[in-house]
Amino acid sequence: MFGMNEKGNILFIIIGAFVVLALIPVLITTFFWPAKILMQIIMIFVVYTTVRGLMGSGNLTIIISAILIYFMVFKWFEVFLSLYILQLLLGLQFLSVVIWGIGTNLRKG
């Protein structure tokens, strides 16, 4: 697998790039509290919309949303913020650009 790569271990560089991409929003929300509140509001809306889309409107939707919001938005906020940002970037096909860019700059034929 690494035979094609003569100048450094590009797989680890790409994984490192993904980790950096996931860490940036966590650092921003740690040092800048309005960003944390903003992202929490956005994630609450995303969770509620997802649950309502699957379960319809009703009391069960509120209960399940509350459980998920507690775990995903408050208890493990940093983890799920990273995952949410990566999912957003995946949806926009941005990670393909990252791979292409790293491949172009570091792997010279």
């Binding site: 493990w76 995946l90 949806g91 990670l95 292409w100 034929g109």
Partner: protein, 131 residues
């Protein structure tokens, strides 16, 4: 007391984390199941019986196999396969060997980069010749 344990032993933090992730995943699987059954059978008694039976089988009896399958399904749905294809096929290897005759189209990032370098070198050489 619990916090002291969590601070002293990172393993407890990991157990707590994976237990919560497991619960979140189970809730998502249950919601997917409820949505799927309701779409096919409506909101009658039969659909609730089916949700209960399938829910027990998937979430408790066979969770060791259905959990990873759902995780894989989610990853594929989010488009991770496109990233893998980009990494292993599109940007892998570099350009093909140049053959005589027609020039091949741009095939990869490495190819494009080399062509841009070649174009820069050619324009620099032309500028020197003009002087």
């Amino acid at each position: 007391m619990n916090e002291i344990f969590l601070n002293l032993f990172p393993m407890f933090f990991l157990f707590d984390f994976f237990a919560d992730i497991n619960l979140i995943l189970k809730i998502f699987v249950l919601m997917t199941l409820v949505s799927w059954v309701r779409n096919h059978l409506g909101t009658g008694a039969l659909s609730w019986i089916l949700i209960g039976a399938m829910g027990y089988f998937i979430l408790f009896d066979g969770w060791a196999i259905f959990g990873p399958i759902y995780l894989l399904y989610m990853l594929l749905m989010f488009g991770v396969s496109a990233v893998l294809i980009d990494f292993f096929f599109i940007s892998a290897g570099g350009p093909p060997q140049q053959e005589e005759g027609m020039e091949s189209p741009v095939s990869s990032g490495v190819d494009l980069s080399n062509r841009m370098k070649g174009a820069h070198a050619a324009s620099a050489a032309q500028r020197i010749l003009r002087r």
